[in-house]
């Protein structure tokens, strides 16, 4: 049969499917697709066919059967296990347990780790097998004898496992062979199964989703999840910034210049807008009511002619210059201008700091 990854037509249902998913039918002996195989198996199970009962090992892992090289060697192996006296010793010179020498690398190794090489057909150790497989993959992109093995009865691991009862090298003493056969049959078969399952996974992993695809989907899934999480984190952050504020506007009119008495500190807008308006001989300027020490609100003490902060005792003169207490710099001033209707308009979003020389900015005062 052709490449495992190529698509071929199933003779039973007529659909094109991946060659790796083809199995040998137990009814027709043909290679059919896994869907048909399952249907067949279900039908067999429903009718309670003898075949299904007689060989539970067959029904156990249908997927790998193709890779295993068909039913023939397996059935033979099972027979060998149940009737060891009659079975041929097709072990390739290996016992089921104990140590053996690998013909490829020459290392002593547990026979359980031996696999049939696809190149030489010999039993080689797992490490040599993997190396061979890797090399084969690099050489030719589609080497796969196993799936197409079909009727070719290769000496499979099952056969090797069946050995103990037939060969003298096994754990069962040779003399006890014949007599002990019926009693040993059951555990022997169990061991065969366990071993074939393990070796098969090494031999030829096959399935509907392979490892590479699975990892691809996994990576895609995690990427999508991370992106969605990051997006919700940003959305949650944005949630904390309100769009509507119940605060006074930053730009507002405070009346006509004539309403402000020369030489006085006007405290009318202290509570509502956080400003003092002061008119001197020649100009109007607007001071922020935020203490430059730690942000408390000072009070204007008319008798002492100074702003005094109740928190830590900072003192500011009428023009805003600090002169006592811990405040490190003068009070800030806000932008002030004449609106079109002649009123004084204050903009608290723009501040002017004395220590930066910004009080000379014509926007920081209003000439009257």
């Amino acid at each position: 049969m052709a490449d495992l990854k190529s698509e071929i037509k199933c003779p039973s249902c007529g659909e094109s499917r991946l060659a790796s998913s083809f199995l040998t039918s137990k009814v027709s002996g043909q290679k059919i697709c896994i869907a048909c195989f399952r249907k067949e198996k279900k039908a067999a199970g429903a009718s309670g066919s003898e075949a299904a009962k007689a060989s539970p090992a067959k029904a156990e892992t249908p997927k790998a059967a193709a890779a295993e090289g068909g039913e023939a060697p397996r059935a033979a192996a099972l027979e060998a296990a149940t009737a060891p006296a009659a079975a041929p010793a097709t072990t390739g010179g290996l016992a089921a347990e104990g140590m053996a020498k690998c013909p490829a690398c020459g290392k002593e190794m547990d026979v359980k780790r031996f696999v049939t090489s696809k190149k030489s057909g010999q039993k080689v150790c797992n490490m040599c097998y993997q190396a061979e497989r890797k090399a084969g993959k690099a050489d030719q992109p589609a080497p796969s004898a196993a799936a197409g093995a079909g009727a070719k009865a290769k000496p499979k691991p099952v056969a090797a496992a069946a050995g103990p009862h037939a060969s003298a090298a096994g754990p069962v003493p040779a003399g006890a062979g014949g007599a002990a056969a019926p009693a040993m049959a059951a555990p022997g078969a169990a061991r065969v199964r366990a071993q074939t399952v393990r070796l098969r996974s090494v031999d030829q992993p096959s399935g509907d989703v392979d490892r590479r695809d699975f990892l691809g989907w996994l990576a895609l899934g995690w990427t999508a999840f991370t992106a969605a999480s990051a997006q919700s984190a940003i959305a949650l952050g944005r949630f904390m910034f309100p769009n509507v504020l119940f605060e006074p506007p930053s730009t507002f009119k405070i009346g006509y210049p004539e309403e402000f008495e020369i030489g006085k500190v006007d405290e009318r807008f202290k509570a509502s807008n956080g400003i003092w308006v002061i008119r001197s001989e020649s100009m109007i300027y607007v001071l922020s009511t935020v203490c430059t020490h730690l942000g408390c609100t000072p009070n204007w003490l008319e008798t002492e002619r100074k702003f005094k902060c109740p928190c830590h005792g900072s003192g500011f003169q009428k023009d805003g210059i600090n002169f006592e207490g811990p405040a490190p710099r003068p009070l800030e001033r806000f932008r002030v201008k004449r609106a079109e209707d002649g009123q004084v308009e204050v903009d608290t979003s723009k501040k002017f700091q004395y220590e930066l020389g910004q009080w000379n900015d014509p926007e920081s005062y209003l000439v009257v």
Binding site: P242, F246, C296
Partner: protein, 261 residues
Amino acid sequence: MTAIQRIKQKFFESQVWRSIFRHGYPDTRRNQSLAVLSNVFLHLHPVSVRKSGIRLSYTWCMGGISFFLFLVLTVTGVMLMFYYRPTAEFAYNDIVQLREDVAMGIMRELHRWGAHAMVISVWLHMYRVFLTGSYKPPREFNWAVGVILLKLTLLLSFTGYLLPWDQLAIWAITVGTNMARATPGAGHEGPFSSMIKLGDIPLLHSGSDVRFALLGGRFVAAPALLRFYVLHCVGFPLIAGVLMAVHFWRVRKDGGVSGPL
């Protein structure tokens, strides 16, 4: 067998008792271990503690006292939530009501003094851990968790400070949150803030910086009260609870309470 013994036996061998306690009376080493291991409330606790681990002159029991105070504050805090409304209209009057009119309103004083005590005990706990060198391997990670827990304790204290909504609270939080203005790259008066702009438009201003998000406005007002209330009652206690579980578990995993060398 007397009647009392029979009743006792019947009681301790009943299905109800045996379904709750899956071990015998803790008079053997095995049952003593099981008493801790199979108890959901004790499972973070080590099965056995070194003698030095309970020596008061060594540990001062400050970690245990901190945890005890946290439990006291949780209980009293939940009780206060039955009376306190976190709005500018009601908050102050509810505190006054708790003090003057509510039966057992002393709960509020317990909460307040317990909070002060917890800040002190957590600091002392850290001081003891420092003095005994218990921050050294393999306990470095638990020290880091402890530092975060200390910060959470201070944040809990800070957010709780605003809730009485009196002059002291408002100005203390005003002063405290002014520090957030200077957060590097996130506060509008902090380092790098002038670099974050689109052409001539500054992106980081008093209406878009980290302090604004914290207060829900440009200054301490009703939105700030609500935010601090939620953080104080839900946010920080939840994080602190999770980290405390990690903290206690790591004490066990790192070899128990450190002892004298």
